[in-house]
């Protein structure tokens, strides 16, 4: 039974104002058939009501974003491509099972964010990536010293935690717990 949409909006607003970072997607699920109405009102709320003090992890994430735009990320944004488009292209060109796209996505985002050693990726991944992004292989920004330690927080992988523990509690186990496979080897993460 969906909960009254105004009550859900109010609960979301109160938790947001208190800095609890409620996950709006969970509220839409609770709204059932009224999800579209709640979505419109949450949009209105967050665009209209002054924001609460940002969480420290959000400040850290924005510090990383402001500090330096990774070149591969800049290349993709410059070509106005979404991550999912790049991932779909990689899966197709590499002949991977489409069911493995989420793992390709996670590793691609680590690569894009400068969190993987780009010099270790396999040549066929580099070739596929160049074709997907529509640039010569030599123009791919995959060189440079490997990161001794992440130069920035885990900007992209950490995104799902933006809404706090609600999301973390329902998230699948981290991919690092998996056995290394072909996809790990492609990305030099095995």
């Amino acid at each position: 039974m969906p909960e009254p949409v105004l009550a859900l909006l109010e609960e979301f607003a109160v938790r947001r104002a208190r800095g609890e970072r409620p996950d709006p997607l969970l509220y839409l699920e609770r709204a059932g058939d009224e999800a579209d109405a709640l979505a419109a009102m949450i949009e209105g709320l967050v665009a209209s009501v002054p924001p609460p003090e940002p969480a420290p992890e959000v400040v850290e994430r924005m510090r990383a974003l402001v500090a330096g735009e990774p070149e591969l990320l800049g290349l993709r944004l410059g070509r106005r491509m979404r991550v999912d488009e790049v991932v779909a292209g990689l899966v197709e060109r590499l002949g991977l099972d489409r069911a493995r796209a989420p793992k390709v996505r996670r590793l691609y985002q680590r690569l894009e964010g400068g969190l993987l050693d780009a010099s270790r990726i396999e040549a066929r991944l580099a070739d596929a990536l160049a074709r997907v992004l529509g640039v010569p292989r030599s123009d791919l920004p995959l060189t440079g010293p490997p990161p001794a330690a992440p130069a920035m927080p885990d900007l992209l992988l950490a995104r799902s935690d933006w809404a706090g523990s609600e999301v973390i509690a329902s998230a699948p186990a981290p991919y690092l717990a998996d056995e290394p496979d072909e996809i790990d080897r492609l990305f030099g993460a095995a």
């Binding site: 949009e43 665009a47 209209s48 994430r61 974003l65 944004l77």
Partner: protein
Amino acid sequence: MTDDESDAIDARLLAEGDLDRLFARHYDDLVSRAVMRLRDRDAAADAVQTAALRVLRELRAGRDHGHPMRVVLHQVLTYTLRGWGAPIEDPLPEVDEPRDPRVDDHLAAVEHRAWLDGVLGVLPPRVRDVTRMRFGEGREIAEIAQELGIQRNAVDQALHRGRAALREAWLDA
């Protein structure tokens, strides 16, 4: 915090070059908006990152948007979301493109109507205060009653009107 105070914080952070904190203030709200449109957390985070980087590039190139940063950030996100899964339709010129005066008009219109003060502007002061304390500050009903020196049922009545106003502004508009 009032709307003007929030805009003033943004203006100060911008003047001080503290873009980390400026973007962080609005990050969760921008992601929430993107989630509402895309219904996907990762895609929403991508869209917000794209919008934030665009604003960042413009600021570094010396662009003065001439409007509060929360208006700029939300509008750039709106334009970004239009291109998500659909042909790019981007009426906000990049910093190296000719300035389109229609964009300034549009941003000014958004700025005028976007804040809660505008939404609640026509309501009696008590309804405005109660609604802001509840939706903007997350205060408990009893706490609001005590601070304003009114009965709890008076808070409930004011909130009832406030909720209706928010519904009309954000849903029925």
